[in-house]
Amino acid sequence: MKYLDIAIDYARKLGVDYADIRIQKSISEMIYLENVSFKANNLDTTHGYGIRVLKNGAWGFAHSNIFSEDAVKTTTKKAFDIAKQSARLRQGKGIRLASEKSYIDSYTTPIKKDPFTISTKEKTSLMLETSQTMLKYTPIIKTVIILTNHREEKLFASTIGTRLDICTSFVSPMIMAVAKNDTDTQSRSFNEGGHAVGWELIERLNLPRIADTVAQEAITKVNADTLDRENRTTLVLDPIHLGLTMHESVGHPTELDRVLGWEADMAGVSFATPEKLGNYQYASKIVNFVGDNTLAGGLATAGFDDDGVPGQRWFIIKDGVLNEYGTTRDTAPFIDLPYSRGCNRATQYFDQPINRIPNLYMLPGTQPLSPAELIRDTDSGVYIQGQGSFSIDQHRVNFQFGGDYFWEIKDGKLWRPLKKVLYRSCNPEFWNSVDAICDARYFKPFGVTNCGKGQPGQVGRMTHGASTARFRNIRVGGSK
């Protein structure tokens, strides 16, 4: 693409310290079905480029969707001028970049069946059948099915000589049923997030069969009991639920930009400050969290990040101890790290990339253990599946989570269904209370497609994963 060369050559001529250009085309299809009414069947295409210039220790970023030599040069100059103005307020040496090699490379998400080649008719017929499966149950008053297919094509070039050609894709199905009784309405969902695979996922899932279970569980839930009083008890949390808890209480606190205070005004900061690296008992000794932007099927697996840093695998929490952060080329030097872990990603061409959570997962337990065995081994407690309400303070210490489907555990058995369960905990209490993790056979990923961060807001994507795990002595109660 000639515009890569135009931008980089012109940036060099202007005298930048570093520059890159990212030409990005994002194509997203979203079909939204409510009961039997298709509320949206939308194809979204954005195509443009963002140019990032580092000059005198400050960033300038400009974007455009006009593809011409003049426009590319004008945009490059705009980024350059902005950087020079920003450098007036530089502190010390300002922004520096961790060293990185140059690469000429490409990456494509391995998919078997391109979802964009599947006809709308096939997709909508499947969705309608899925919805009707749930609507046959009288207490089900509302269903929602959302199918999202996404493809992203990026061309990247930088002044250190990197040239990348990247194409990533994901599919994301979501099913929800709302059940009603005389006094209440409650929903139950199937939502495992996005997966960096093709239409083969949808074929494998059998959505109508899943929907039937979702509907039955929604009915069970609306008629379930509530927990009125808060008590300290045991929680058994399924992988989809854990995907959200680790995202909020481990993923965000270990983004280095938050640690540095760069997000203090909006998303907040982090309690996991650098002096804790290598000595802070973030979790119990059986807990290991891995950052892994090479994970097959992972939404942050793209070969390289938007700094041109290759995907890597590293321990963020090792044997329960805070080990390392998710980093970018511009954050790593602030804690004297000589390298980046490749976590700089932008959502659209018009976004400046920011420090993002990598694919982040908890390693499975090393001893054979199934969720059924774990529940059998639990005298009393609550088993939570899926995701519900979530809220955490701006230091990522105190949090409250709900869930989607709940069972009270008594004498090692699922005793009675519950609804409106909430639990409250904090870091490091929560992850230090883990005393059992099921083995690798029960590991399940959850793909986040809507991680909000930054000003102006960007929506990031990454995959989490876990096997079902047990947490002891957590405050558990019910909402009103």
Partner: protein, 425 residues
């Protein structure tokens, strides 16, 4: 730019083949200067044109959006949207698009935005950072400016054009245990008084120097306007005729009833010259609405398809005003024996939709008061509150303040606010 948008619009109109349609051609130009730790960390600028095309073919819907504006791609998105519609299932709830209608000629644009050059934005940040340095504090935040234009037409003859401007300034000042924030937005840069905002930040900062640990309990609170804005913004999500009629929220069958508190009213207006309002969208044209009057629910925003299906009048919350009694914070403190003053709330989420039960945290400074006097700052807390029931515990309200370009809300004194947890900071 309007002429360019019209040209794109005409091109799409010429090539479409749908029974009915909505087309939106829009332009946005923005610049955002982010700062943190007393330095600029990001600085972004750019503009773009985008097109939304929604079509109805034989009672089937399809749509496409693009930011790739060349004739070949525009033809492609028309084709894709119409193909999607043809291959779609018929929609039993479909409503025709908006008919020809007059819409309010609101002024959402102020030319003062032109003063806000790159240099000026950096100068403002510099002023704010110098203020922080005088306190040995670290400043983080953003100053943003944007202008936008939107041309919207439908197959039933509606045609509208709107344009606007927006300036946002948000700052968090941090030192040791102190962390406090102010954030304002306005369509008119001249009305975003930077010195006043810095002064407010300084006052909040100074008030937080003496911090004492406090356990959570149920007690009265004075929510300052920013906190009220954060909390009641959730009405945009849950205060809706469709979800109420479906039985999903507590507002089911409450129209005409005094379901909320006496001291709570809610309206949208097209008559306030300072407030931005969206004069039309694909639901209807904007008009002034008294959604709630002294606790009585008069109306709820109603989506177009729901209105069509149930013979209702469509409406939307194009801006938000919560009227107030003009009672000062000092007077509010005297109305209760003790309580908390809360600068801001954050990470509010719905625990239970049917009850409108929300959770969230305090943020940016909490002050403890007793016998009409502020005693000291305290740590942050978590709350769980059912919004409708909470409005019945509003004891007093202040003078509405414009926090965002489209919202004015007052401070509120609320009895028995349900805190359920505390933080370590």
């Amino acid at each position: 730019m309007k002429a360019r948008l019209q040209k794109i619009m005409k091109f799409i109109q010429k090539h479409l083949h749908a029974d009915d349609h909505e087309i939106s051609v829009y332009y946005r130009d923005s610049q955002d200067t982010r700062f943190a730790q007393n330095s600029i960390t990001q600085h972004m600028a750019g503009d773009s044109i985008g097109v939304f095309y929604n079509c109805i073919v034989d009672r089937r819907t399809g749509s496409a959006h693009t930011k790739q504006i060349d004739e070949a791609n525009l033809l492609n998105i028309i084709k894709k949207a119409e193909e999607n519609a043809r291959e779609n299932m018929p929609d039993p709830d479909i409503a025709s698009t908006l008919s020809k209608a007059e819409y309010p000629q609101v002024q959402n644009y102020a030319s003062s935005i032109k003063k806000l050059t790159t240099k000026k934005m950096v100068d403002i940040v510099k002023t704010c950072i110098l203020n922080a340095k005088l306190k040995n504090a670290q400043l983080s935040g953003i100053i943003s400016k944007s202008t936008n234009e939107n041309l919207f037409v439908t197959g039933q003859g509606f045609s509208g054009y709107t344009y606007g401007s927006e300036v946002d300034l948000s700052m968090t000042l941090r030192a040791n245990h102190i962390e406090t924030k102010v954030a304002y937005s306005h369509k008119d840069f001249d009305k975003l008084h930077i010195d006043d905002i810095i002064n407010q930040l300084n006052e909040q900062f100074a008030a937080l120097h003496t911090l004492k640990d406090m356990d959570f309990e149920t007690l009265p609170v004075i929510l300052r306007p920013q906190a009220v804005m954060e909390l009641f913004s959730y009405l945009w999500w849950i205060y809706n005729r469709k979800t109420a009629d479906e039985g999903l929220t507590p507002f089911t069958a409450q129209i005409g009833k005094k379901f909320l508190g006496e001291h709570f009213s809610l309206l949208s207006t097209i008559d306030d010259p300072d407030l931005k309002t969206q004069p039309f969208n694909n639901i209807c044209v904007a008009k002034s609405m008294n959604w709630v009057t002294n606790g009585v629910i008069n109306d709820m925003p109603t989506p177009r398809d729901w209105a069509h299906k149930h013979n209702l009048t469509p409406s939307y919350m194009h801006n938000m005003v919560i009227p107030g009694q003009g009672i000062s914070e000092t007077e509010m403190m005297k109305k209760v024996k003790r309580g908390l003053i809360i600068n801001n709330l954050w990470y509010i989420r719905i625990n239970d939709m049917k009850a409108a039960d929300l959770t969230g945290m305090t943020r940016d400074g909490v002050l403890y008061f007793e016998n009409g006097t502020v005693k000291h700052a305290v740590n942050n807390f978590r709350f769980n509150e059912c919004l409708p029931e909470m409005t019945r515990r509003i004891l007093a309200t202040g003078k509405p303040i414009q926090i965002r370009s489209n919202s004015k809300v007052p401070a509120m004194l609320i009895e028995d606010f349900h805190f359920v947890d505390k933080t370590t900071f």
